[in-house]
């Protein structure tokens, strides 16, 4: 009977402790790729890997170092080198100041020396939060000094690469950093020392076309975008859409330009293992 519909009593459950419980579970974060949400605490424990789509979020130098080097072992270097405005590009200095404030970093690369599972090494981490980790004079100079220090102290170098390319705001000087850092990496190599690059999302442009591709060992994080030209630039040139897996770590590995694609979870151990094997070979 129709009347029964109106008589029917319907219950809904009200969780009176809901807000309390949510507070305990902590804040939510949204995956930058699949846009699904998860607990920040859990996301961090999973080294910023999304539990839904499995992709890695980008790490800033602080986060990268925290999951890579032995606690308390990292010593910052080259922070005294800082940015100026060679082209008098309007707003450039202000932009740098804002980014310094926002990221807590002085420039797009953090350099220093530390240990990974006891293995001493020079380390640089590029910061995609800082003008897309573009390479200007300061990034070039800091990396060059790191190579020089490593050559002097006979230490390996590991660079966590990420970059949109050369920093246009500094014009031709940015282009010259490609030659400068490649040259310094060459001197380090001539001294018989180990250089490892870890290509992280995104490694492109002038950084790909210089020191990122010059490692004795080139590792890449799963799913990272790695390439020379930007996807849209290529699509514009050839006039068609590119396949989805184009310029991924796996694509670059398949074409022979990366030694090994690694998961973020195994990266620290893989690095330590490679460092250790080279230490034994050198007979130190």
């Amino acid at each position: 009977m129709l009347i029964d519909l109106f008589k029917k009593t319907r219950y809904i459950s009200v969780d009176l402790d809901y807000n309390e419980r949510q507070k305990e579970l902590g804040p939510l974060v949204v995956c930058p790729f699949c846009k699904k949400s998860m607990r920040a605490k859990e996301y961090e424990q999973r080294l910023h890997q999304c539990q839904h789509c499995g992709k890695y979020g980008r790490l800033n130098p602080e986060q990268r170092l925290a999951i890579t080097v032995d606690e308390g072992s990292f010593q910052l270097m080259n922070e005294n080198v800082y940015t100026t405005n060679p082209l008098d590009f309007k707003g450039y200095e202000e932009k740098i100041a804002v980014l310094q404030e926002k990221t807590g970093c002085t420039e797009a690369v953090t350099t220093g020396v530390g240990t990974i599972l006891g293995e001493k090494t020079c380390i640089a981490v590029m910061n995609s939060e800082f003008l897309m980790a573009s390479m200007g004079s300061v990034v070039g100079e800091r990396l060059t000094r790191l190579f020089e220090y490593a050559t002097e102290e006979r230490l390996p170098v590991i660079i966590f690469c990420a970059s949109g390319g050369a920093r246009m705001h500094e014009g031709i000087l940015s282009l010259m950093q490609m030659a400068k850092v490649s040259g310094a990496a060459g001197k380090h190599s001539q001294a018989g020392l180990l250089y490892i690059t870890v290509l992280t999302d995104p490694t492109t442009g002038g950084v790909t076309a210089s020191f990122a591709m010059l490692g004795d060992v080139i590792l890449a994080e799963k799913n990272a975008t790695i390439g020379f030209a930007g996807r849209r630039v290529i699509e514009g040139t050839i006039g068609t859409e590119l396949p989805k897996d184009f310029q991924t770590a796996e694509f670059v590995e398949k074409h022979g330009f990366v030694d090994k694609v690694v998961s973020r979870q195994e990266l620290k151990e893989v690095l330590a293992k490679i460092l250790k094997l080279h230490r034994l070979e050198a007979g130190n």
């Binding site: 060679p86 705001h169 014009g171 030659a179 040259g183 790909t208 590119l242």
Partner: protein, 272 residues
Amino acid sequence: MSGEHNKITASGRIEIVKQKARPNVVDYISRIFDDFIEFRGDRAFGDDQAILGGIARLGDIPVTVIGHHKGKNTQENIDFNFAMAHPEGYRKALRLMKQAEKFHRPIICFVDTPGAYCGIGAEERGQGEAIAKSLQVMMALETPVITIVTGEGGSGGALGLAVANKVYMLENAVYSVISPKGFASILWKDATREKEAAELLKMTAQDLYDAHIIEGIIPEPEEGAHKDVKQMCKNIEAVLRQDLAELTGISGQELAQLRYEKFRHMGVFLER
């Protein structure tokens, strides 16, 4: 350089160097050198005609000559891919440079490219790796290297042939990290501000000379190199002969060290 010529804007110079009549690498090689023999291929994948290379003689000195190859007509431009090299082009160039080093030949490079090619094949075959290797290997070559930017010096594609002991630019040549159009569309989201970007980028020969990036500016005939190719070549040849006399007296190791130190000091930053 005449005072009048000094007033040409960066955009004006881009127009001059992009003209069809602008001499290309073959014009320079045929007039400056004798006995040129082209050598092809990267010994791995193929022969990229966007870069031309071989051996020749400058006076009594055997040299290796390498340069971006712009076409004189549509068919040539298609064949040479508008001087935008693929990875195999840079690998061919590097092979010829290592060959030159082995036989103690000086290397002379002519740069004239909008940039390294952006395409599927270029990515698949490692455009980034090819240029990176060029930079590192060129830096350590134990033989004299001289580069002349004759027209467009397009970013990494140009630098791949320009890690040299001496880098010159022809008076109207330009050399930049990005095209003015690219700069305007990325940084200002407005490609129509191309001309403004060209001035800001400081990409002319005079700009690069003032910034201590290049060793010198080679003067062009009035209105540009195409007006008197013979004279243009004479001006280039004079510079090459003078430099070779100087550089061939320096040991290979020292040449590599001098080249490294020169690039080592490029960059503008402050230090606290």
